[in-house]
Subunit: 105 residues, 2 copies
């Protein structure tokens, strides 16, 4: 399993709504993620809207490509796009992995 | 297990050295972390020195307190302190957990 971490920026004034939406992610979206190889996937935020994602996957490019083929992901990303700052495209296309510099099992 | 994520800022001009140091963390430091309840612990960075930490632990306060009792942690944190920006004290004391807003097993 590869560990992946990325950072996104949610508009501070929409953070509360972003959190509410993520407390009730559609079951079909959760299922699509699992079936696409997104495991142990968490999102964290600070109070200013910095959002950190962490997941474990065999191959992040393949996991993103698999999600990209699902109809539910297109719907979800279209609804999430207005929450983000500094993204031209869809939020899932702005998930640039950071570099892992340390790991302890 | 609780999932914990925190963000620190390393001085950009010292990031390469910070990465080198973390490629060879002292075995006794790794052992102390494991014995103190730090599991699946990773550090990630971007090119400007933002460092994201992720770990899983039963109780983060207890895991930090257990590390705080070890002699090796005092030595390690003293050596790491000059790498960081915006921290008055030791880097391990600046690890403020973000808020988890989503999790998929």
């Amino acid at each position: 399993m590869r560990r992946v971490c990325f950072v996104l920026k949610v508009r501070e004034e929409r953070l509360a709504e972003y959190r509410r939406r993520h407390a009730e992610v559609w079951p079909e979206m959760r299922r699509a993620l699992s079936e696409s190889g997104w495991h142990n996937y968490s999102l964290f935020c600070d109070e200013r809207g910095m959002v950190v994602g962490y997941l474990e996957t065999e191959d992040f490019d393949a996991a993103r490509a698999a999600m990209d083929k699902t109809e539910v992901n297109a719907r979800w990303q279209a609804e999430m796009a207005p929450f983000f700052e500094g993204l031209d495209g869809r939020p899932d296309e702005g998930m640039i992995p950071l570099t892992e510099l340390f790991h302890l099992p």
